[in-house]
């Protein structure tokens, strides 16, 4: 099967057609997604106030559309220190991207990262909410409500609470149950945070950036080690021995992206760490990992420097059948592009001209997706500086920054996209942090929800162009009885109920020949955020989907035909296409 896929991909040089005008237009307010982030004070006196919150897209109520859950912070550390807390915010979608706020699950905390997946195997999406000293599993009820089912971390008042950043729900041991990886940031006492300097006396180190006084950290504060829990398949989890994470050094983790890095069928993890080398955790399929970022060439930037990794995007940029990585970084550091190679990754940042385009930006969330539907991926980055002081003269950057979108193909050179339409998400110089990708209005094109620090959440709807599209939702085999999935007694790999980890290759007929598109079902996409479980394929203006190769985590391989452009399909392992609908 793998040989078939690669042969198919090696011939995939055809272009899908002319480039289409495209933009992401922010319609949040008009469509009822009225939400404003709180993240401490405007001066950002502490690092906790600067990092913002994530967003999750998941289908609540099983009505087939994606609803929105937003993490939320507090107005000050004083409030947190006094025992205050806030809930996460939930907005229901009517299927046409019109939103209504609905009561949240009643949590209390300073929330940061969100993860989605079917943790109890009942066929609907559940949520894990991480925060400053909190980590809660929320299981979706029959009516679509999210109800707390397990509290994995509860230490909001300790001197250095576990500070959860990005989360990932994925199946590390191929037992069909989703496991949980939690990225952690650093030790910070919310009641006595360092201010002005670290250390005492003559050897105190001033907290400065470019000579300007700023909040302290991450350098100089103790990093926290990432943690992992094994899912039991019923919504409960047990924490795993840290040794299973390959003795990876504690960094300042900000982003986590599961994907099959080595093409062996199980799920690996890319971890972006602030001010320290990135990690690449290669899974053995049994829930243990080896850290191989240096060997794979993704630990550092192309210049050999550790960078401040903030976000990770995964996708097949050059359509060679291997996953590539884009890793966002601090200002004065480029967003790095690492292309999958026969062994590890090769550096492509400078070949694509991304250094010049990105080095003055501080970028967080990132997505590699075919927004305009031309058959080639674009790179979206959510941008905004951590320091309000960036607006001082001669910093070379600014506090508010517009989000950016680059075409990365067919020419291997980054070219800016969008930003010209009124209300474009890509025009306003704000402070973005988290973002989640998914089709919110049912037209098959991936849209974005973007959180802004201290500001209104944006809803970037894909607008423009005439591309044909296909959306695919993968589902694991039917459980019998529903909700009672157990590990295979023989130890054979199983596909999770929500298809997490399934790899897809879509072969498309287009003018000039065929090309193939690669995707993998993973929701842990975007800084502190969770994106759609759907796979969105752009076919260009004249492309026709020919065949869909499906590699299920169970190792079953299937080839589906009879596909049509302009529809979305549900496929279930062993059953083929079980439902299809026209796109709007």
């Amino acid at each position: 099967m793998r040989r078939v896929l690669l042969a198919c991909l090696s011939a995939s040089c055809a272009d899908a057609g002319p480039r289409l005008p495209f933009d992401l237009v922010d319609e949040a307010e008009a469509r009822g997604l009225s939400h404003a982030n709180r993240s401490g004070g405007p001066k950002k006196a502490t690092i906790l106030e600067a990092n913002g919150a994530g967003v999750a897209l998941l289908d609540l109520e099983r009505d087939g559309d994606l609803d929105v859950v937003l993490a939320q912070g507090l107005s000050s550390l004083t409030e947190l220190c006094a025992g205050g807390g806030t809930d996460i915010d939930v907005f229901l979608n009517d299927g046409a991207a019109r939103f209504t706020r609905t009561p949240g699950p009643g949590l209390s905390g300073w929330w940061t990262g969100l993860a989605t997946g079917d943790v109890d195997g009942d066929g609907d999406a559940d949520l894990v909410a991480g925060g400053f000293g909190r980590l809660v599993v929320l299981v979706q009820q029959d009516g679509g409500e999210l109800a707390p089912a397990a509290e994995l971390v509860s230490a909001p008042s300790s001197p250095a609470p576990p500070w959860i950043t990005s989360l990932a729900l994925f199946d590390a041991d191929r037992d069909g149950h989703l496991d949980l990886y939690a990225g952690l940031y650093l030790d910070l006492d919310p009641c006595a945070p360092p201010l002005g300097a670290l250390g005492d006396g003559a050897l105190a180190v001033p907290c400065e950036w470019k000579g300007l006084a700023v909040y302290c950290g991450p350098r100089g504060l103790s990093p926290q080690a990432d943690r992992m829990w094994r899912g039991r398949g019923d919504g409960s989890f047990e924490e795993l021995d840290p040794a299973r994470l390959g003795a990876a050094p504690a960094g300042y983790t900000l982003a986590v992206a599961p994907f099959d890095a080595d093409g062996d069928g199980d799920t690996d993890l890319a971890v972006a760490a602030d001010s320290s080398p990135n990690l690449l955790l290669i899974g053995d399929g049994a829930g243990a990992f080896r850290e191989l970022a240096y060997a794979a060439g993704v630990a550092l930037g192309a210049d050999g420097r550790p960078q401040a990794g903030m976000g990770i995007a995964v996708g097949d940029v050059d359509r060679d059948g291997r996953f590539d990585l884009a890793i966002t970084n601090f200002s004065d550091e480029p967003t790095e592009l690492h292309l999958g190679a026969d062994v590890g990754f090769t550096q492509a940042t400078y070949r694509y001209g991304l250094s010049r385009e990105t080095q003055r930006l501080l970028s967080w969330s990132a997505h590699l997706a075919d927004f305009d539907g031309d058959g080639w991926l674009e790179l979206f980055t959510a941008n905004g500086h951590v320091y309000p002081q960036a607006d001082e003269p001669n910093t070379g950057t600014s506090y508010g920054q517009p989000d950016t979108l680059w075409h990365l193909g067919p020419e291997p050179r980054a070219r800016p996209a969008g930003g010209a339409r009124a209300g474009s998400l890509l025009a306003a110089p704000l402070g973005s942090r988290g973002s989640a990708l998914g089709d919110l209005d049912g037209d098959g094109a991936p849209d974005l929800v973007v959180t802004r620090i201290d500001g209104p959440t944006a809803l970037g709807l894909a607008r423009g162009g005439a591309a044909r599209r296909l959306a695919v939702r993968c589902l694991g085999p039917r459980a019998d009885p529903p909700g009672a999935r157990s590990a295979d007694p023989t130890g054979a790999p199983r596909t999770p109920a929500d298809g997490m980890g399934t790899r897809l290759v879509l072969v498309v007929a287009a003018t000039g020949g065929e090309f193939a598109l690669l995707d993998e079902v993973q929701t842990a996409r975007g800084y502190q955020s969770a994106s759609t479980p759907w796979s969105h394929f752009g076919l260009g203006e004249r492309g026709t989907p020919l065949r869909l190769f499906v590699c299920w985590p169970s190792t079953r391989e299937e080839t589906l035909e009879g596909l049509r452009a302009g529809e979305r399909i549900w496929i279930r392992e062993g059953e083929g296409i079980v439902r299809r609908e026209e796109l709007r």
Partner: protein, 369 residues
């Protein structure tokens, strides 16, 4: 060219790089050093407070290619790319700017080309006909050329350039990155042992650089505080650069003459520089300030022994035995040195007794080496 710097004026102003007087030259060198350090510490704004005026026509450094290059780099880092380009364009064609000045300007242009992903531009600016740098004495010429290959995925071509860069500037701020790139090159060649060793060098260099940066920031914040300068000198000693340490300590002695640990470390630096007379002076100064400076006392005794001043040495060693904590390594070694001194004098019983005390305190060396 900006309106503030008409091209003809700017070019004319670069005609003579020679400063008017030695004192002006010293001031210029100090300013260049300060700007260089500011850029190393990512403090471009500090260069821009005075730099653009000084390198503008009529300014004190208007004819100075090195100053121009530093200001151009600061402008670029500050996001003022056009001004940086114009400044360098005005400087580029001037043979009179002096070799160092011309090299600095070309290196600044190459650095900007790197920032702009213009890898071919870097090679066009820096590579001679044989591919080697046009400015072989400038470490950054080797580094930038190496980067142009490393960024293009040609680690093997970058490796020899990086090795030369590290030979020329082992403590450069980019040394850790150079070691990492060399590790990557070794990895690509399948030499796992070399890759591991180079990565360890990179990590060690990175730690050193982190401290080096911190100490310099502390010194800038409070120039008269002795501890940061002492820490900086210790870093140079760790790096086996006693001359750099001595330089730092001389400034520390000027600013804080009553700070005994500074004199002790200056003695160490001078000793490493094979200056026993200067070292003894420094140790003596430390002991005048603080008789408890045990390292100074011990090492002054060692120097005195080597110089045949046995009575002086004996006094210091006896003081250590009497006053230092029993297990203090300098006190323990003082016993050994006293024992050997007694042995040389033929005082066998005393020598044996002292050596027995030495062994009782954990010493393992024989009486007669």
């Amino acid at each position: 060219m900006s309106a503030r710097w008409p091209a003809a004026l700017a070019i004319a102003s670069l005609a003579s790089p020679v400063p008017a007087s030695p004192s002006a030259g010293q001031a210029r060198d100090a300013r260049i050093a300060a700007w260089t350090e500011a850029l190393e510490l990512d403090l471009a704004a500090q260069v821009l407070r005075e730099g653009p005026v000084l390198v503008a026509p009529g300014g004190a450094l208007a004819r100075d290619g090195e100053a121009l290059a530093l200001v151009a780099r600061a402008l670029y880092r500050a996001g003022r790319e056009t001004e940086a380009d114009e400044l360098l364009a005005s400087a580029a064609p001037l043979p009179e700017a002096g070799a160092a000045g011309r090299a600095a300007v070309e290196l600044a242009r190459a650095w900007i080309a790197l920032e702009r992903d213009d890898l071919g531009g870097v090679r066009a600016l820096l590579a001679g006909p044989d591919g080697a740098p046009r400015f072989p004495k400038a470490p950054e010429a080797w580094l930038y050329l190496a980067r142009s290959f490393a960024r293009a995925g040609e680690a093997a071509r970058a490796a020899p350039l990086l090795e030369r860069f590290l030979e020329l500037a082992p403590h450069h701020g980019e040394a850790p990155a150079a070691w990492y790139l060399l590790a990557r090159a070794a990895l690509e060649q399948g030499d796992l042992e070399a890759a591991r060793a180079r990565r360890e060098r990179a990590e060690a260099a990175g730690r050193w650089q982190a401290y080096y940066r911190t100490r310099r920031l502390q010194i800038r914040r409070d120039p008269d505080a002795p501890l940061p300068r002492l820490g900086l000198a210790q870093l140079w000693m760790e790096a086996e650069e006693p001359a750099r340490a001595a330089e730092v300590l001389a400034e520390l002695a000027r600013r804080a003459p009553g700070f005994a640990p500074g004199w002790t470390l200056l003695g160490e630096a001078r000793r490493a520089l094979d200056d026993p007379h200067g070292a003894r002076e420094a140790y003596t100064r430390a002991l005048e300030l603080d008789p408890e400076e045990r390292l100074a006392r011990h090492n002054r005794a060692v120097l005195d022994l080597a110089a045949g001043r046995e009575a002086d040495a004996e006094r210091d060693l006896a003081w250590l035995v009497e006053h230092a904590p029993e297990r203090d390594p300098r006190a323990v070694n003082a016993l050994l040195l006293l024992a050997r001194l007694a042995d040389r004098r033929g005082e066998g019983e005393r020598a044996e007794g002292l050596h027995a005390d030495y062994r009782a305190r954990g010493g393992t060396e024989p009486l007669r080496p």
